[in-house]
């Protein structure tokens, strides 16, 4: 064996009669989880240290005199583990009964109900009737500052929140005060966790309803929420998230675990910027300007009008948005190129500084506050304007060629914008005064309403899926732009976002070899175009 090929060491053990082979150093809990055998636990969290104090994950290990905490017990070759033996189950039942001895059982008014680990475990394995006849301990409610509300009576003292603040946020503002049965999570500071930029995560990791979000409080029951995998659009980190949607409204954003990007976490800045996805003032139909007035039109009519007027050869310039999907931006690039080529500008907001997460250094709220600036840059688009995403378009206000605007709301432009343009096409989601002079206005869905990809700051292509139903007539921009391209004889009309992604490879060689299907929910790193060119 050469010194370069080290043997891959493994450990084989038996869990509930099933052989499992894992690397050495794995814990029993992780090994069981790798086979889909989920051992109940509270204090263990994959992103935090394991204090082994909840005592719920105790399992029977043959040869060990006592039940072993599976979250810290490492696997050994030939180990025989029983997670569902009478002894292990009996002990879990006992521990769950201890939890309920002081739990208020206020599930009907608890926000966590439906996604509560205490509820789940007790339903699965708990006793039918609790035996406690004693009065319950009462801590009441406490405002932890920021978005966090604490219901002490529901707390199971797993200390995940304390450990998150100590180990990951490294902003130790929470602690356990008192001891024994009087232990309670509390904060030393008047402001609690207010202003700690990642504090919202303690609500996510709380296994019960002890820490809840003020913003989400009593908004929706967990079982009424649809979860859609998505990407946080609020900076170029591209945290993987789930959109939690009820009644076609995003109710909250939750981080979705991706060890490469955001671990289990997301920042509060991103977490709380979703209300715009629920805006009701939308562009709902294509508009065509006739006799100086924008009139609703059918898609067919609007596209005919557009194609008719595009055929004249003339200079072209465009404005894009780094909030649009890669598929949309690439389609715009191709249209502009097919019409003779021209400058594409974009504006994007920028923060003064990054907000790092010390305990998980890959993650920071980036300075770049848009999700897809990387794509715009790869497509040779030019960033203009200031850090607020304003200005820089003055030269376009009186432009006389073909003008296409994709996604930018043009909030700082006045109603005369584009008046001089020979053809002004506006593709957007929301009404804009500066679209008033557009010859054709096409409604497009927001990222939350369509399928697509963003490329984050480190060059990772990540997919998002539609969580909301957009206006009936809205179509992703790659669709009408695809119609234009096929009419110009450049490529076929893509039938899906996946096809639009493949078409984007034309102008984004970095995407070569990638497909929506292979990107999956974890994302994929861009290819090095240089290497491809050389091969």
């Amino acid at each position: 064996m050469s010194e370069f090929t080290q043997p891959q060491e493994t450990v084989t053990l038996t869990i509930d009669g099933r052989e499992v082979t894992v690397p050495p150093g794995t814990t029993i809990l992780q090994a069981a989880e790798s086979t889909g055998n989920r051992i109940p636990h509270y204090c263990y969290h994959p992103g935090l240290s394991a204090p082994a104090q909840c005592r719920l994950c105790l399992v029977e290990v043959e040869g060990a005199p006592k039940l072993q905490p599976s979250c810290v017990t490492q696997v050994r070759d030939g180990q025989v583990v029983h997670t569902a033996s009478e002894k292990a189950k009996g002990m879990r039942q006992g521990v769950l009964e201890f939890y309920l001895a002081n739990h208020p059982l206020d599930c009907p008014i608890c926000d966590q109900s439906g996604e509560c680990k205490l509820q789940d475990y007790v339903h699965e394995e708990g006793r039918k009737h609790g035996r406690s006849r004693e009065p319950k301990r009462v801590f009441g409610r406490d405002d932890f500052g920021g978005d966090v509300l604490f219901y002490g009576d529901r707390c199971v003292m797993c200390t995940r929140c304390v450990r998150f603040m100590n180990e990951v946020a490294q902003d130790p503002r929470l602690t356990v005060v008192e001891r024994g049965n009087r232990s309670v999570i509390d904060t030393f500071f008047e402001d609690g966790v207010d202003g700690s930029p990642y504090a919202g995560n303690i609500v996510d990791i709380c296994p019960v309803g002890a820490l809840v979000s003020k913003d989400f409080l009593h908004k929706a029951r967990a079982w009424d929420l649809d979860h859609t995998p998505s990407i946080c659009p609020n900076c170029s980190q591209g945290c993987n998230i789930d959109l939690h949607v009820r009644d076609n409204r995003v109710q909250r954003l939750k981080p979705r675990a991706n060890p490469e990007v955001n671990g289990h976490w997301m920042c509060d800045y991103g977490r709380h910027r979703f209300e715009w996805m629920n805006r009701d003032d939308r562009l709902t139909r294509p508009l065509v300007r006739e006799a100086g007035e924008a009139r609703p039109a059918e898609w067919g009519a609007a596209l005919s009008e557009l194609l008719e007027r595009l055929e004249e050869a003339r200079p072209i310039r465009a404005v894009a948005s780094p909030f649009a999907s890669t598929e949309e931006l690439a389609a715009l690039r191709r249209v502009v190129d097919a019409l003779g080529g021209g400058e594409i500008l974009f504006r994007s907001p920028e923060a003064d500084e990054e907000i790092p997460l010390p305990g998980f250094p890959q993650l920071a709220r980036r300075r770049d506050l848009s999700p897809n600036r990387r794509t715009a840059e790869l497509l040779g688009m030019e960033r203009v304007g200031d850090a607020q995403g304003r200005g820089g378009l003055e030269s376009l206000a009186d432009y006389t060629g073909t003008l296409i605007v994709l996604g930018d709301a043009l909030a700082d432009m006045d109603a005369d914008f584009g008046r001089q343009a020979a053809l002004y096409l506006y593709l957007g989601s929301h009404p804009s005064a500066a679209a008033g002079q557009a010859d054709v206005v096409l409604p497009i869905p927001t990222f939350a309403e369509q399928e697509g990809t963003f490329i984050n700051g480190e060059g990772r292509v990540q997919r998002f899926w539609p969580g909301l139903i957009g206006p009936e007539q809205a179509r992703p921009a790659w669709m009408p732009l695809g119609v234009v391209l096929s009419r110009l004889g450049v490529g076929n009309l893509p039938g899906s976002a996946g096809e639009a992604f493949l078409a984007a490879t034309e102008v984004l060689p970095e995407l070569q070899g990638l497909r929506h299907e292979t990107i999956g929910t974890r994302g994929a790193i861009l290819n090095e175009p240089v290497l491809l060119a050389g091969s």
Binding site: Q53, E134, G180
Partner: protein, 430 residues
């Protein structure tokens, strides 16, 4: 004569200097033959010291009774970084008051034992963790440590041997749980006094992450005598498996409670009726807790023929623990007594592990109800089952300790419980 009281059956090895204020000073202690073991140990070499302690059969006096020499040999032989020795002087077990006396009367005996122990395990630093409430003892000990430094027994290059051993007297803040060895280490490190998960064991990852041994005050105080006189000398007392002398802290309904140093294997009845003078007029034995409140209660029948060594007490269904003998006569309300102990554990639980945090309080509340005549017979089954769920399921043994007296008292004094429950029924009916 001596220390307030004594008895002719006592074998005063550790407690020899008690009651004599001179033993608190370096000079006084040297006059009694002190500080002869340390130079001898340095001459013997550490392997020999450990062998001698192994040969003596000395067992840890903190309660677990683990052989000290073997514990020391768990420390890494090859020293890679700092090693620490912690002396556990956080004596808080209800019924125990031997370490306090060792600290306040014979501090140099302990210091000498600590230095020898540190030398044996290659520790650079000894932390003596004193119970927060031991104000006087901590002062006496601190003064003695200063003297030891001045005389060159502690500090740099002790007695010209080339070894550096520092001693720090550390006062706890008054939590029972800090007497648990890993919580003690957390406390010294400035953290909350929470027991740590084992493994890793302290001999591998201990204080400040370094190999550490934790020994009880009485254990370390025995070391100079063993080094001076040899292991076989120590074995002249006690039994084959439990050699040596032991300080028995006797409290409760006897005429002469107190600390008595007796050979291990001493008959319990002789301790009660002879050494401690028996009961008040007209009273008789009801129950004994032989090893501090954490061990199962023994009934009068269990006490018959019981010998006070580690094995002898186990044979009778309890444990010797730290030999804190609590004796109760027939005037005792066992339920109240047990409730009082469970309350203590509920108050002192660190609150990490669920079975302990919730269980101790729950047990206490049920016991209060029974005590007040509002219990039912099902409560007894619940108590037993909760106790079972609290045993062997937590990081440390505080939870087991709270459950032990409950389970054993229900088993042995069920009638006492039933009497209270039935009295309640009558009250309810009337």
């Amino acid at each position: 004569m001596a220390y307030p009281y004594t008895h002719e059956k006592e074998v005063r090895v550790l407690s020899r200097g008690w009651g004599d204020p001179r033993t608190r000073t370096l000079e006084g202690w040297k006059a009694m033959g002190g500080y002869t073991a340390l130079p001898k140990a340095l001459e013997m070499g550490r392997a020999q010291v450990i062998d001698e302690v192994k040969a003596s059969g000395l067992r840890g006096r903190g309660g677990a009774g683990f052989p000290t020499g073997i514990k020391w040999s768990f420390m890494p032989g090859e020293k890679k970084g700092a090693h620490y020795l912690c002396c556990n002087a956080d004596e808080s077990e209800p019924g125990t008051f031997k370490d306090r006396e060792l600290l306040r009367w014979t501090p140099h005996q302990l210091i000498e034992g600590c230095l020898i122990g540190a030398y044996a395990i290659q520790a650079d630093h000894v932390f003596i963790y004193c119970r927060g409430e031991f104000f006087e003892a901590t002062q006496v000990l601190s003064r003695a440590v200063e003297e030891a430094y001045e005389a060159g027994y502690a500090g740099k290059n002790i007695l010209g041997s080339g070894h550096d051993i520092d001693i720090t007297v550390f006062a706890g803040a008054g939590a029972y749980i800090c007497g648990e060895e890993t919580a003690l280490m957390n406390s010294i490190e400035g953290r909350r006094g929470l027991p740590r998960v084992k493994p890793p064991f302290p001999a591998a990852v201990g204080l400040f992450g370094k190999p550490t041994t934790i020994n009880n005050v009485e254990t370390l105080s025995s070391i100079p005598h063993i080094v001076n006189n040899g292991g076989s000398w120590y074995r002249q007392w006690g039994t084959e498996k439990s050699p040596g002398t032991k300080l028995f802290c006797v409290s409760g309904h006897v005429r002469r409670p107190g600390n008595y140093e007796l050979p291990l294997g001493f008959p319990l009845e002789e301790l009660i009726y002879d050494v401690c003078g028996g009961f008040r007029e007209g009273r008789s034995l009801k129950a004994v807790i032989p090893g501090g409140s954490s061990v199962p209660i023994m009934s009068a029948t269990d006490c018959e023929g019981c010998t006070l060594d580690y094995e002898g007490v186990v044979e009778k269904g309890s444990m010797l623990g730290c030999a804190s003998v609590i004796i109760m006569d027939d005037s005792t309300n066992i339920v109240k007594q047990v409730r009082r102990m469970v309350d203590f554990y509920a108050h002192e639980s660190c609150g990490q592990c669920t079975p302990c945090r919730e269980g101790t309080q729950w047990l206490s509340r049920i016991l209060v109800r029974i005590e007040n005549g509002r219990g039912t017979e099902e409560d007894l089954e619940t108590l037993l089952e909760l106790g079972n769920q609290m045993t062997g399921t937590t990081i440390c043994v505080l939870s087991d300790s709270a459950a032990a007296p409950v389970a054993s008292s229900i088993q042995k004094f069920r009638d006492d419980y039933l009497a209270l429950i039935r009295r309640g029924e009558k009250v309810g009916a009337a």
